[in-house]
């Protein structure tokens, strides 16, 4: 299935295809021109959140070929954990204008939420998926849907079924001027934090021993096991990282939108899953790319007054891709798959 040489230096990755960076820049340029800077920033921000969630789908699929339907809800739980930490533990009520305090609070918020969600993700893997690893493919899929409902109901039990407000720590008034447009620092922060996490993940997968173990496991679990890779540990780490990223997405969602609700995971999960498929499921760079692509389509639709058709366009695109290019934008078999 996978043809790439895993032992080679990955400096030429993640973009195996040389035309791709050019294509991305051309697309971004066109989008900036068509949408204008305000909507361009909106799309990048939304895309960053989709991409962070999509990474979790694609990593898990890459390594155990499970479509983890609970992942959207892991993201939702992440947003509630972030809300709880921010408002109850740190006692935040709204924007913090003291810069060192703000930086400290945001860092603590990210670290704690990512930590808690990584543990939640690993627990889900240990309790719900590992016992079924040798079961028919349908069994873990159904279990994943079950986990999704459990997470929704647990959150509903503790926080109720209404929309819950989340403290927006970064003041929304802070902004910079870019060619006459007001670009909020909040958006820039969301984009920067997400992109930094994505690069960190890319480096982790391509440069570390554990990353290499993840790649080999995704290619041939039995062979890797014979070579001394601890499969259980590797799969658990994949869940740790994927859920941690979903936790980060939850933090970012709360900071950006200032609210969350228990049914956040379904729609966002579906979009992120679509992003993963569009990019080539199992391919981390592709998932990120797919997330941004979907965000640009949705924002473009809303910008031109066709908001009600945004979802239809996104999912039509998915159907077209599945029919004509089932491996997605970047293909599901590239070497950085994990």
């Amino acid at each position: 299935m996978a043809a790439a040489d895993v032992t080679s230096s990955s400096s030429s990755r993640p973009f195996a295809n040389a035309r791709l960076p050019f294509g991305i820049f051309a697309f971004l340029g066109l989008a900036l021109f068509v949408l204008g800077i305000d909507q361009f920033v909106n799309a990048l921000t939304l895309g960053a959140i989709y991409a962070l969630v999509a990474l979790g789908y694609t990593m898990v699929y890459g390594i155990i070929e499970l479509i983890n339907f609970a992942h959207g809800d892991v993201f939702m739980v992440g947003s509630f954990v972030a809300m709880f930490i921010s408002s109850s533990l740190l006692g935040n009520e709204g924007a913090i204008t003291n810069i060192p305090l703000l930086a400290g609070s945001v860092l603590v918020l990210f670290a704690l939420t990512i930590g808690v969600m990584a543990i939640v993700g690993a627990l889900i893997e240990r309790l719900a998926y590992r016992p079924l690893r040798r079961a028919p493919r349908l069994a873990p899929l159904i279990t994943a849907i079950g986990v999704s409902f459990i997470l929704q109901n647990v959150i509903q039990f503790f926080f109720g079924p209404t929309i819950v407000t989340v403290p927006q720590l970064v003041p929304i008034e802070w902004s910079i001027e870019v060619s006459g447009s007001r670009v909020p620092l909040l958006n820039i922060f969301v984009i920067a934090a997400s992109v930094a996490l994505m690069f960190a993940l890319q480096l982790f997968i391509s440069r570390t021993r554990t990353g290499r173990a993840m790649r080999t496991t995704s290619m041939d679990r039995d062979a890797s096991s014979l070579m001394g890779v601890d499969i259980n540990r590797t799969i658990m780490i994949t869940f740790l990282i994927g859920s941690g990223l979903a936790g980060a997405a939850g933090v970012v969602h709360g900071l950006y939108y200032g609210n969350t609700s228990f049914n956040l995971g379904f729609q966002s999960g579906l979009k992120a899953f679509t992003a993963a498929v569009l990019g080539g499921i199992g391919n981390t760079a592709g998932a990120a790319l797919g997330g941004f692509l979907i965000a640009f389509i949705e924002v473009g639709a809303s910008a031109f007054g066709y908001g009600r058709w945004g979802g239809a366009v996104v999912f039509s695109l998915l159907v077209i891709f599945l029919v004509f290019r089932p491996t997605g934008l970047l293909g599901s078999h590239s070497g950085d798959r994990a």
């Binding site: 305000d38 209404t162 200032g258 809303s302």
Partner: protein, 401 residues
């Protein structure tokens, strides 16, 4: 309020079978149970607005006693995952239809649920009274006739319709200085309908609609639409939809896009008090300068007396649709009493007593009567504004008969 549990239901069924087996010669035996169904969305964001309607209806039912009969209420909640669910509303109506003791129903709350319920209740000839449905197509014209399937009118409502509510808000917005409006709707029967009516009136009065789109329930990202409103240089915003569709999220996104100072107009979908999950609670400080309407009378005769009674029962003030819910139950009770006087209490006699009544019902809302399709002839729209974190009454427009 407890819904009958399984044991209770089977006990009821047993009694019914026993009664049937004994073969009563008269249809209505003394001590017979009559039930008024209450079909509303009662959890999540829906509870803030529909809860008072339920409380009002239950209070009216509790106060009533009919000689020789036991009057009961049966509440079914059709909110799923925090939002009203038309499929569940239709299923609940089927449950009521299947329960022989149910002779009339209060509800539903949302027009989309009304659209789902009317064909079911109409088929069974079961009378229902909605405290809050406002979509004109539920009763009027070809749409209304199609929902009834050519059968007699079995659905009445004490709220007037969006073809008045939307325009009332439009006239008010215009008077408030709105010239260039951006419209967003929730794409469902209520949201799109009220936005259409608003748009038509606003244009008729010389206003400009600088942009319009729709985003369905479940949308979390409103930033692109907020930016579009900014790019279109709108001076006011109209949102057609309810709180759980995302009205407060849209308001927050507007503030984030730098449009927090613009007046934000909505209809009764965002007029839901200040409780948990309400528009004002979620939008917080951004809710200031928001305007909403209610398709009902605000200056209720004897409001204080009613409030005292309501507070004694529930420990809180009567607000929002508490009055309408009470009025609906009052009307159904009048119908049942008329049927009792006529000597034969069936769904048909109760329905006929309410629908065919020439004169007005004396309700907490004042005198209410219904036209040939079941719409109230009390055509009053009330307007409200968020001021200091709570809704304040602004004015009342009476469109007369």
């Amino acid at each position: 309020m407890k819904v009958l549990n399984k044991k209770g239901l089977s006990a009821l069924a047993a009694v019914a079978i026993l009664a049937a087996a004994c073969g009563g010669s008269t249809a209505s035996t003394a001590g017979k149970t009559l039930t008024i169904g209450v079909s509303l969305p009662l959890n999540g964001s829906s509870l803030a607005s529909a809860g008072p309607a339920r409380d009002g209806a239950l209070l009216a039912i509790k106060e009533t006693s009919i000689e020789g009969y036991t009057l009961k209420a049966k509440v079914l909640d059709h909110a799923k995952e925090g939002a009203h669910n038309p499929d569940q509303a239709a299923a609940d109506m089927l449950t009521f239809v299947g329960d022989e003791t149910v002779v009339a129903v209060v509800g539903p709350f949302n027009s989309a649920s009304g659209k789902a319920q009317i064909p079911v209740s109409s088929e069974a000839g079961l009378l229902q009274c909605s405290p809050s449905n406002t979509a004109p197509g539920l009763t009027k014209g070809d749409d209304g006739a199609a929902l009834r399937g050519g059968r007699a009118v079995n659905y009445v409502r004490v709220a007037t319709t969006d073809d008045l509510q939307g325009p009332a808000v439009a006239v008010y917005a215009k008077k408030n200085g709105a010239a260039k409006i951006y419209i967003l709707d929730s794409t469902d029967a209520y949201g799109k309908g009220v936005a259409d009516a608003f748009e038509a009136q606003f244009k008729k009065d010389g206003g400009t609609v600088v942009g319009r789109t729709g985003l369905p329930t479940g949308t979390t990202d409103f930033s692109a639409v907020a930016t579009a409103a900014k790019a279109a240089d709108a001076d006011s915003i109209f949102y057609g939809g309810v709180t759980s569709d995302g009205a407060p999220l849209f308001r927050n996104a507007l503030a984030q896009a730098g449009l927090g100072a613009l007046p934000f107009y909505g209809a009764d979908g965002i007029y839901d008090g200040t409780g948990e999950g309400s528009y004002v609670a979620i939008a917080g400080a951004n809710a200031e300068n928001s305007y909403a309407s209610q398709a009902a009378i605000e200056n209720i005769p004897g409001k204080d007396a009613f409030n005292t009674k309501f507070k004694a029962e529930y420990g809180k003030d009567a607000e929002g649709y508490a009055f309408a819910g009470y009025a609906c139950a009052q009307i159904l009770v009048e119908g049942i009493k008329a049927a009792v006087t006529g000597g034969d209490v069936t769904r048909e006699t109760v329905r006929a007593a309410v629908v065919d009544k020439g004169s007005a019902f004396e309700t907490v809302l004042g005198a209410v009567s219904f036209d040939e399709v079941g719409d109230t002839t009390q055509r009053i729209i009330s307007l409200y504004k968020v001021d200091g974190g709570a809704w304040k009454f602004v004015e009342e427009i009476n469109y007369g008969n």
